[in-house]
Amino acid sequence: MQSETLSAALRQSGFENLTFSTPWSARLFGMTLAASEKQCFTLQQFQSALIDRISEKEQDGCITTDDDYYTCWLEALQGLLEERNMWQAHQLREREVEVVAAGEHRKEQQRQRQRQHHHTVQPEVVK
């Protein structure tokens, strides 16, 4: 990121509390702090894993967005949990497939509801 962009980003930054740019980065952040509170690892161990991951990433390019940064965070957390044998590699792959399938299922249900909505008269509340 060039300094002009940096400067623009700085000017845009207000005084408000920052929130997460994506729902997954919020879950990831929350999971990391919650897992360290449960003593799965210390925050220092996580920090060290994150430093390694960022350093690898920066060999290929720069971190300029929240997505770049939280992708490093995700890979650091995943690595740390896998070192502790929290699951077998195939379990994570299978769960990802299930997550995608569940998402598709939810969307299909939503589409069905929308179709039904168009064909039925909705009761209205009269006050």
């Binding site: 400067s7 509390n17 980065s25 925050l43 967005t65 940064y69 890979e75 997550v99 995608v100 998402g103």
Partner: protein
């Protein structure tokens, strides 16, 4: 770190994050409520106003200021501020001859419980690499022009220590209450990428 799924509608990071959370739920490491609690706390309760409250107290209470400079975390705890995420908080004071600025060159360590989440630019490669290499130039580009006689101190949060900059109390602020003073202090002052405190009017 394994295969990254191409999926047209959902980012692979979102899928993997959900899958990891689901596995952690299943093996009873943590519940969704544990995660919700942390997220809610950071989205709703913690932000730069927390840090501003600490600095404003130090400006009006010299004894508190001494304690804050001696042991940042213990002094913050007096105000009910803190959390397990920070082990050591070192507060560095700006003076007419010294300007302090904070960075984390290796990742993005930040005093979360005091300032909330770091902004995107703080995590960027550009800020992290350039601030150490050419602090005066970068600060000048960010609108902080420092005369040569002002020493710039760059604090790199590489170990367990987190840093917080205490800006100089503005002149002619005697009539302002602690709460009014807190309103003048921004996150950028406490990171050190802003120096002068602007008073309204």
């Amino acid at each position: 770190m394994g295969h990254k799924h191409a999926h047209p509608e959902k980012a692979w990071q979102a899928i993997r994050t959900e899958a990891i959370e689901s596995l952690l739920n299943e093996i009873n490491v943590l519940t969704s409520e544990d995660v919700d609690k942390v997220v809610r706390h950071y989205e709703e309760n913690v932000g730069p106003k927390t840090g501003a409250r600490v600095i404003a107290r130090a400006w009006v209470d010299p004894d508190f200021k001494k304690r804050l400079l001696a042991d940042g975390l213990a002094a913050c705890a007096e105000l009910g501020i803190g959390g397990p995420e920070t082990e050591l908080l070192h507060v560095v004071e700006n003076t007419p001859g010294v300007h302090n600025v904070v960075v984390c060159t290796l990742c993005s360590c930040y005093p979360w419980p005091i300032l909330g989440l770091p902004p995107v630019w703080y995590k960027s490669s550009a800020y992290r690499s350039r601030l150490v290499r050419e602090p005066r130039k970068l600060l000048s580009e960010l609108g902080v022009d420092l005369p040569e006689k002002v020493e710039v101190r760059v604090w790199d949060s590489v170990s367990e220590i987190r840093y917080l900059v205490m800006p100089e109390k503005p002149d002619h602020a005697e009539n302002l209450s602690e709460a009014q003073l807190a309103e003048l202090i921004t996150r950028d002052h406490m990171i050190g990428v802003a120096r002068h405190i602007h008073q309204a009017g």
